[in-house]
């Protein structure tokens, strides 16, 4: 019996959209349905900070053109939360009780903010910062230069801080680790970014956490909670705030995978083909725990470029390409207050077994490469970043860099430093990098 949908995609962001495009590239006919609990067409999630800062408008937020779904023959079911997936029946059930069967399913359900159990938090009408709706809500509350406390100095927290720092709010960030952006960056790059934030008037409080929260009586919202309050830190000091943003981290949204009986760990376990423990169910993006080329084991890399890449290969494989996803690893690219910072792979190696080389000059250029047995496994570049992608590609290829190790830290490091045969292989056969490696 023919099923209702050839390709069902749950999730309408980086992974879901790239999957749809890849499917359509191979299968012009098979019907695709995208389910999303949000009410928007696909938008650029990382751009919500630009929206709040007034640097992007609603039109610019759109990840694809208005005609995308139509021109690709995709049925978009926005505002439709999928409540349950049955692997055995090849079916999904929406919150309204509609049950549809599918041939292939992609779980690209992304992640949800992790909210730590801080005493008093339940009394506070706090904000999170991962969706367009979050950004709208934050913008609507930014009257009169409020005091904003951001808990968590990861990418989400710091992008929120940057958006607010330019005249919209008085910002304080509290981070448990001893530096901001502890996962994406190392000490040095973190310090460079911290300097920028310091100059922009953002107060950074590292190495401590909020131990309790107390709601302030006035300004209560409808449900009896207050937006304003006072946070107490480990040393007993307090911070008064008008708005609280919780940005401690995100967790994969595993409910549907669990309901389908799929194997999960931190995320949904997926192989090199982004296939889960069920042959016809795939997972990609923030929700997936898939092989990481650097770490050599499955990892959740909840980052946009990784989600897009995994989505693409999940789509190819849903359409029957049987093509492994190359080069999936941690990849971060951000600009904070005019300072571009890029990182890839393992940037904070554990003690022992790794060689770390780095260079910093006074012009604000910093580069670090992490090697293991002459294989490059990680890099950070800040300031002059224009050619840093060459290092990313070497990391993704697990390249042995012994012959040009001394040049890796040069801002000008490029193909001229490669042995001729390697150079010509890259330039003429284009057999490099994330995507090109598959041909």
């Amino acid at each position: 019996m023919a099923r209702d949908i050839r390709y069902a995609v749950i999730g309408n962001s980086a992974a879901g959209i790239n999957a749809c495009e890849a499917i359509r590239g191979l299968d012009k006919e098979g019907d695709i349905a995208v389910f999303s609990d949000e009410h928007y067409p696909a938008y650029s999630r990382p751009m919500i900070s630009y929206l709040v800062a007034g640097k992007a408008d609603a039109k610019k937020m759109l990840y694809r053109s208005r005609s995308f779904y139509k021109s690709h023959g995709i049925e978009l079911r926005s505002g439709t939360r999928v409540a349950k997936v049955s692997a055995k029946r090849h079916s999904l059930t929406t919150q309204t009780g509609e049950t549809l069967t599918w041939d292939n399913l992609l779980l690209a359900t992304g992640s949800t903010p992790f909210i730590p159990p801080i005493p008093g938090l339940d009394d506070i009408d706090y904000l999170t910062f991962i969706s367009w709706a979050d950004a709208k809500r934050l913008s609507s509350l930014l009257r009169g230069n409020p005091r904003v406390l951001i808990v968590g100095a990861g990418l989400i927290g710091m992008k929120a801080a940057e958006a607010l720092a330019e005249g919209l709010a008085q910002v304080t960030v509290v981070e448990k680790m001893d530096r901001i952006l502890p996962l994406a960056l190392d000490d040095e790059a973190s310090r460079m970014v911290s300097d920028r934030f310091g100059k922009a008037g953002v107060k950074l409080t590292n190495g401590t956490s909020v131990t309790s929260l107390e709601a302030e009586g006035s300004g209560k919202t409808g449900d009896g909670k207050a937006r304003a309050g006072r946070a107490t830190l480990e040393d007993g000091s307090t911070i008064d705030f008008d708005l609280l943003i919780m940005a401690v981290g995100v967790r994969p949204r595993l409910e549907l995978a669990t309901s389908a009986g799929l194997e999960t760990n931190r995320g949904i376990l997926a192989d090199d083909y982004l296939r889960t423990s069920h042959r016809d169910i795939f997972a990609a993006g923030d929700v997936a725990e898939a092989p990481d080329v650097v770490f050599g084991e499955p990892r959740v890399n909840a980052l946009w470029p990784n989600a897009a890449l995994q989505g693409k290969y999940a789509g190819l494989n849903m359409a029957g390409a049987e093509t492994p996803c190359p080069g999936s690893t941690s990849m971060n690219s951000v600009e904070f207050l005019g300072l571009p910072v890029l990182s890839a792979g393992l940037v904070n190696p554990p003690d022992g077994g790794y060689e770390v080389i780095s260079r910093r000059d006074n012009e604000g250029y910093y580069r670090k490469a992490v090697l293991r047995d002459n294989i490059i496994v990680g890099m950070i570049t800040a300031g002059q970043v224009d050619r840093a992608g060459i290092l990313t590609s070497l990391i993704q290829e697990r390249a042995n860099v012994r012959r040009f190790k001394s040049a890796l830290l040069e801002e000008s490091f490029s193909h001229i430093y490669f042995p001729k045969a390697v150079r010509e292989g890259r330039i003429f056969e284009e057999k490099v990098g994330t995507d090109a490696a598959r041909r």
Binding site: P305, V334, V385, D386, I390, T392, H415, D435, R439
Partner: protein
């Protein structure tokens, strides 16, 4: 539409049919003169006049780079990859691959300068342009029959091939 652009002594006209072209370097004959870089700058300048481009206008960033070490040199620009990592990774949707020409293009109106494309470009062929606000790259000179770097190379060290 066919248009004619006067560019110093060099005449160029729009590629009448949108062709798939690629540019390849030949390092055995490259003399490292950097005329490709200069004419790339002229082509992407406001006036497309070499004197004005270098002396009176805001000078655009070159989209082709000569790499040189000792006697070896060659010019490299965007490869317009078949499976372009920058297109997949772009978080605003600004980077796209033209289905007709195969050219990978960045839309400066949609680019937000997050540099994710730079992070994933294996060729280092994408740059921060316009005072570091948006990404810029080789566009294969869509207004010309032959890209400026190829047309102005004195030793055929850059060649154009139709694919």
């Amino acid at each position: 539409m066919r248009s004619t652009v006067s560019n110093g002594a060099d005449f160029a006209r729009t590629r009448v049919f949108k062709k798939m072209i690629r540019i390849y370097p030949r390092e055995d004959v490259c003399i490292g003169c950097r005329l490709c870089e200069i004419h790339c700058i002229v082509q992407h300048s406001k006036s497309r006049n070499i004197i004005k481009a270098f002396k009176s206008e805001r000078r655009p960033r070159k989209r082709v780079e000569v790499e040189e070490e000792g006697h070896v040199s060659f010019a490299l620009q965007c490869r317009h990859c078949e499976e372009a990592p920058c297109v997949t990774a772009c978080l605003s949707g600004a980077m796209s691959k033209d289905p007709k020409t195969g050219a990978v293009n960045n839309d400066p109106e949609r680019c937000i300068g997050c540099w994710t494309c730079i992070l994933v470009c294996p060729y280092g062929a994408i740059h921060r342009v316009e005072d570091g606000h948006v990404a810029g790259k080789c566009d294969l000179c869509p207004d010309r029959e032959v890209p400026a770097c190829v047309a102005n190379c004195p030793n055929e060290a850059l060649v154009m091939e139709e694919v």
